[in-house]
């Protein structure tokens, strides 16, 4: 066997099995912080698989977005919220028969799908990657032309999410004292000082 075909195969099985084992550990780990750490490991393995497919941009995106933002956010939430995860898992045995049945049906479905799958004859990726063009260039060529509508619509979805988040969390409290720099600068001794002529022996009432 050629070393050129063996090495990618070894790398694939290494990353794929790491991803599967870590995904399993996410579910069964007792400590929620470990679950999140295993989730990060799963993302890394998936990113490595993307690199092997030649999709280096997606791989980086996965690491930056999911590991850098989403998983770290999860970690903070898990650590900040005092949720008793052991108690949450109490019903595990109770739901096992139904859950197991569903998992079994899904597994059978996946096996059926896997065995019947064949690449469609006229199959071509919607935008074939040209040889000698890097991922980012390929994205750049279509993002604002063929996919302009999807891009703009996705941007509007993010706007809706932003409006929603502000609408649900912004609390307009009355009587909050805020710093107003121009007011502070415009303030003169006249506004701030009051000279009172105190008569001896009487004091201020």
């Amino acid at each position: 066997m050629e070393i050129g075909t063996v090495l990618p195969a070894i790398a694939f099985y290494l990353f794929a099995s790491t991803a599967c084992i870590c995904a399993l550990m996410v579910v069964i780990a007792r400590n929620p912080v470990r679950s999140v750490l295993f989730l990060i490991m799963t993302f890394f393995s998936a990113a490595a698989l993307f690199v092997m497919l030649g999709a280096e941009f997606l791989a980086l995106l996965l690491v930056i977005v999911y590991v850098g933002a989403v998983a770290v956010l999860f970690l903070f939430v898990v650590m900040m919220l005092d949720v008793d995860f052991v108690e949450l898992k109490q019903g595990f045995a109770q739901y096992l028969p139904l859950g197991g049945l569903l998992a079994f049906v899904l597994t059978v479905e996946l096996i059926v799908l896997g065995t019947t799958f064949r690449l469609p004859e006229n199959f071509s990726a919607q935008v074939p990657i040209e040889q000698g063009v890097s991922n980012i260039e390929a994205f750049g060529l279509v993002l604002y032309t063929d996919f302009a509508f999807f891009f703009e619509a996705a941007g509007l979805i993010l706007l809706v999410a932003m409006i929603g988040a502000i609408m649900l969390t912004l609390n307009k409290k009355k009587g909050v004292k805020r710093q107003n720099v121009s007011d502070q600068v415009a303030r003169t001794p006249k506004d701030g000082l009051e000279l009172i002529d105190v008569k001896p022996g009487e004091g201020l009432s």
Binding site: E109, P120, N122, Q126, L156, I163, G164
Partner: protein, 484 residues
């Protein structure tokens, strides 16, 4: 580049809606409290104008693909956009009156309605799995926030959260189905999928379409994906509930119809049984659940589940007459439901809103005009003959019998009888029970919607029904003409 400009010019209603929404957003953000009313009223005008622009932009050749096939502008899209925009406009009118009285008016409310309407416009004209998903998400995201918009109410927050979590689950199902369809057909555009399906489908496509249908059935609250409906309808602010039960329903039903009748028509033997199962379950769960309800918003939730059962009967036929019956039925359902919700919004005593069925007792003596209108609307929803709602169900049953689904039509008719009990119980409470404490005078916006819908459902039906019938037949015929 000229191609892009041409595409955008055909999307005039959408572009107008987006630009207006952005301008109104800025007005609301910088204008302060005094702009709130203006923004809300302007949003209603924008929706009505956009509906007018939709009719103005009908393509000459019947159907036109935009953005390299991402969207499709055909008679079905025009029909769906027009109805969804008008339904949104009337819901926003109801919401405006309600929020003004409650003193909770905010500009974001109207903006979210506008973006939800935009999502629906994308849904009804989707011609690609990607635009399908984008449309569904844009609409749903706005609806999640609207459900939770009353932050001081625990139940509103609960309903928003419940809707969000279960909605995310349904989006997951939808995406899983879409990925299977893409994997087994090699295309995300509907015409590409159509070619593969026409050359003999595969088991992967079948599982894919079933998952896709599950995700979409969730959005129209058809059983067995209805669990969220009663809680969300009860917890959300009442005008938002009114909005939920009209506009998103028509958009999602048209989307389902487009998927089933355009790319997947050749696989009718595979999806027909799924649709029939959903339809039978929806009718059963909807009406049996509605019998036990004491809260009128929960009752309307179960009623909408059951009505989706009728829509599913029409989808199961897979014929032109089924499709035209579906559109006809949906519009009549929309008008009468909106009217019923306007009546529910009028259920206000001096101490606040009430929403128990007993609160309607003796309405005929305290507010005879409202009682008469509500009775007409309830007759229409129940499908009692002189009211327009009867004809909606009638054409669906005829289409089902023609498509050799006689037993399904009979089941639907039997379910209608059970349903009639639910609605006639309300009518009995309104006309024959001892009067409860009187409601405060009806606001103009609510009264207008009630009067308009009631007039359309009974005396105006003579004019409405033939016009609507003709339009829905044209739309259905054009949809099937494309498929040859």
């Amino acid at each position: 580049m000229t191609d892009l400009v041409f595409n955008i010019s055909l999307m005039l209603p959408e572009v107008f809606l987006v630009l207006s929404a952005l301008i109104l957003l800025l007005l609301g953000a910088f204008g302060g409290r005094k702009m709130t009313s203006t923004v809300n009223l302007a949003a209603i005008v924008v929706l009505v104008v956009a509906a007018g622009l939709v009719l103005y932009k009908i393509p000459d050749e019947g159907s036109k693909e935009l953005f390299a096939g991402a969207l499709k502008l055909d008679y079905l899209a025009v029909f769906g956009k027009f109805i969804a925009l008008l339904a949104t406009a009337f819901s926003l009118l109801l919401a405006y009156g309600y929020l003004k009285t409650e003193n909770r008016l905010s500009p974001e409310f109207a903006i979210l309605y506008l973006f939800a309407a935009l999502g629906m416009m994308i849904m009804v004209s989707a011609n690609d799995l990607l635009s399908l998903y984008i449309g569904v998400e844009m609409q749903s995201l706005a609806l999640y926030v609207l459900a939770a918009s009353n932050r001081d109410s625990l139940r509103s927050s609960e309903s928003g959260l419940k809707y969000f979590v279960l909605g995310a689950l349904s989006s997951g199902l939808l995406l899983y189905g879409a990925s299977l369809i893409y994997g087994f057909s090699g295309a995300t555009r509907f015409d590409g999928i159509y070619e593969v399906v026409a050359n003999g489908g595969s088991i992967g496509l079948m599982i894919g379409i079933v998952f896709l249908l599950c995700g979409l059935a969730f959005k129209v609250s058809a059983a067995p994906f209805h669990m969220w409906t009663p809680d969300v309808y009860e917890g959300a602010p009442t005008p938002v509930t009114a909005f939920f039960s009209v506009a998103p329903k028509i958009a999602a039903i048209i989307l389902i119809a487009r998927i089933l009748f355009e790319p997947f028509l050749a696989m009718i033997a595979d999806w027909q049984q799924v649709i029939i199962a959903i339809s039978v379950l929806s009718l059963t769960v909807g009406y049996l659940g509605a019998i036990q309800q004491k809260n009128i918003k929960r009752l309307m939730a179960y009623s909408s589940i059951a009505n989706m059962g009728y829509a599913m009967i029409a989808l199961a036929t897979g014929t032109i007459s089924g499709m035209s019956g579906l559109l006809f039925f949906m519009v009549l359902y929309l008008i009468s439901t909106l009217g019923v919700f306007a009546c529910i919004l009028a259920m206000r005593r001096s101490e606040g809103m009430v929403e128990q069925i007993e609160d309607l007792a003796g309405l005929s003596r305290t507010k005879p005009a409202l009682a008469l209108a509500l009775t007409i609307l309830l007759f229409s929803v129940a499908g009692v003959p002189p009211a327009a709602g009867f004809f909606g169900k009638y054409f669906i049953f005829v289409a089902a019998v023609d498509a050799n689904l006689t037993w399904l039509a009979i089941y639907g008719a039997v379910a209608s009888v059970v349903g009639a009990f639910v609605y006639l119980r309300l009518v009995k409470i309104i006309w024959f029970d001892e009067p409860a404490v009187e409601f405060v005078p009806v606001k103009f916006s609510q009264g207008a919607v009630v009067a308009l819908s009631a007039v359309l459902m009974l005396p105006g039906a003579i004019w409405l029904l033939p016009a609507l019938m003709e339009w829905s037949q044209t739309v259905a015929a054009s949809l099937f003409l494309v498929n040859g």
